[in-house]
Symmetry: C2
Subunit: 358 residues, 2 copies
DNA sequence: GTTGCTTCCGAAAGCGGTTTCGGGATACGA
DNA sequence: TCGTATCCCGAAACCGCTTTCGGAAGCAAC
């Protein structure tokens, strides 16, 4: 669309007459190049001139056309967040908060944040590919990496700047921001063990997600250091939904020797587990314990309020943005690897193990 | 598509050997202009040539540089969603689902979706202004309009394509997609009245939000048609958070003649109301009724599960995207005004009024 | 063998910026 | 007075693609 059609050159009010570099230059009696350099902080422009140009630009409301600028400089001044297509996760608050933090970081520099969302799993590589060849963005942020992630391989092969929220199995040479999932689940197990639990159910997620793998490892390591054997019949792999969590918990509850505690890889699943527990006539927090992961706000309002492990999402978005920016500026990605700890947020769904003799 | 074909030459790492229109043309023995027109479906190119060009483009992995294309055509092939800055609402699932739908609609056309997030309230007009003058986007979608919304005025004055999720007080001449808020709350009141309630508390939002205004109107009209007088002492205006909802409900509960039911303009508030009710030792669904609005999934897991009114968010995002695209293509915005109905989603937080004589 | 159409493609002028390069002023030392 | 170094600014190429315009072929018709 042309600017004429966009702003309507016709009828009476002529809104928003676009002020371009050329018009600005002319009105100043200078050249485009001079004005451009003045605005971009080149040192070979007289201080007075710079001031004069700045003032005029402000008054006339000059905004450089981003497309032109990007074409000329070759830098897109935008990064893409590719939405994990699995399970329509954009709907998860998880993603929303991350976006918020990202945007904050980018906005400080005036960059754009665009979200990209692919339809199928293998389509995702295409999406990435299109992103990096189209010149639309100068960086990409990934989330929920797989254990072996083709998108990461693609990005690395192309030497395209990117950061990932989480990490894949081999993560030495790229930038990531992750929670120490193994530690988190290790300590969660420890917490439950301290409450007296020995039969701890685990509601996991498909293991091609690396975080699922890590958390399972943490679960096992926690068990191990407590001297408890790993019992495969206590672990369920479920989708990241409440319904799946509910089904998985129900299955575990129907077993002859059901667990006295449930550890879930996501709050959403844990919500379902809570439901299963209630359906069974049990009360979470006394009869059984359930612990989630994510620290969702709404966990405050479940029945009972969900004990969970929280990760600072908005802040992680900000940090991811800062990292990506630094890498685009030339930093070595390997120098940008951040490992944070999750915090155990005790609400009311956990408690000492229930025994017959009480 | 393989890495090989994507990035051209082989051996070692050859990062991003970009195939440009020029290189493509040269390898075909044609001119840039010919190739460009062939790819863009111009009719003055021989059918065979078109085929040949298409094939080569695919093989060599040619992707047009979006910035160049945008500069040349003047159309940005991107639209912006401006995040309501109030209350950091991006974190709300609300926004996330809308984004999802929007992205789906735009992706069908290969357009970008970028999110823009301003820091302060008055900064928002600046954000809009920057958006429409920078040439980055060819359309804008707004949400949560104010009753009198400067952003809308700005957009209209600039004749810039936009759609809004919701509508302001005067909404004849632009495109919007809205739920019939008045109707929704009218029927919600009716529902409560049918359950025997006469003292219905209303937890509203600041009235500069038009939806807040509409819903209050609906509340009043429902009361009126039930022959119940409007009692100002039963309405509270609160922020759109759980804490605010909780405080508001607590205030109402502390009154000498507390309401027997609560109608909230958002689920998040209703979560808080539920907490206040519990804190008071009452049980929602029998002692008092509480009804939310939004249809959040997590409402299934509150204590008790929240009765609410749901609006189809993902779908509305899609429709908003389609509308915006149509308008950018030249449609008259006034022909794109969609009014949907909310559905009452009865879960367990409502019930017949409690009486002493039962 | 002109004339007159089509059909198909090349030439070239942008789109609105950025950036390198060179040179005219001015200042300064000799 | 004549370099010559320093400061500023203009000229021009370029980023990669789109689009208008004109014209070379090819073919039909007269």
């Amino acid at each position: 669309m042309s600017l004429e059609s966009a702003f309507g050159n016709l009828s009476g009010y002529a809104p928003l007459k676009r002020v371009t570099l050329k018009s600005l230059a002319k009105s100043l009696g200078l050249t485009e190049s001079t004005v451009s350099r003045a605005l971009n902080g080149y040192s070979d422009i007289n201080e007075n001139t710079v001031e004069r140009v700045r003032k005029a630009a402000l008054e006339l409301g000059y905004k450089p056309n981003q497309n032109a600028r990007r074409l000329a400089t070759g830098i897109a001044e935008a990064v893409a967040f590719v939405i994990p297509q699995n399970h329509s996760s954009l709907a998860e608050p998880f993603v929303a908060q991350l976006l918020q933090g990202l945007d904050e970081s980018l906005a400080r520099r005036g960059w754009d944040l665009l979200v990209s969302h692919s339809l199928s799993a293998e389509d995702e590589s295409n999406t990435i590919h299109r992103l990096i060849t189209s010149g639309r963005v100068s960086g990409v942020v990934l989330s929920r990496p797989f254990r072996h992630d083709a998108r990461i391989d693609l990005l690395q092969a192309a030497k395209f700047p990117f950061v990932v929220h989480g990490r894949s199995a081999s993560c030495d040479s790229y930038a990531w921001y992750d929670i120490d999932n193994e530690l988190a689940f290790d300590t969660a197990v420890k917490h439950l063990v301290d409450l007296g639990h020995r039969r701890i159910g685990f509601i996991g997620a498909p293991l091609y997600f690396n975080f699922a793998h890590q958390r399972l490892q943490g679960y096992r390591s926690g068990l191990k250091s407590a001297g408890i054997g790993y019992d495969e019949s206590l672990v369920q792999i479920a989708e990241l939904t409440d319904d799946a969590g509910e089904r998985a918990a129900a299955d575990l509850l129907n077993t002859p020797k059901p667990p006295t505690a449930f550890l879930c890889v996501s709050d959403t699943q844990a919500f379902g587990v809570l439901a299963a527990v209630r359906a069974r006539g049990l009360v979470a927090g006394s009869d059984v314990s359930v612990i989630g992961y994510d620290g969702l706000k709404t966990g405050r309002h479940t029945n009972p309020p969900l004990t969970t492990m929280s990760q600072p999402l908005t802040q992680s978005g900000r940090e991811l943005g800062d990292m990506l920016l630094a890498i685009i500026d030339g930093d070595d990605p390997a120098n940008h690897q951040i490992l944070k700890r999750a915090k155990l947020l005790v609400r009311n769904s956990d408690g000492p193990v229930w025994t017959h003799h009480q």
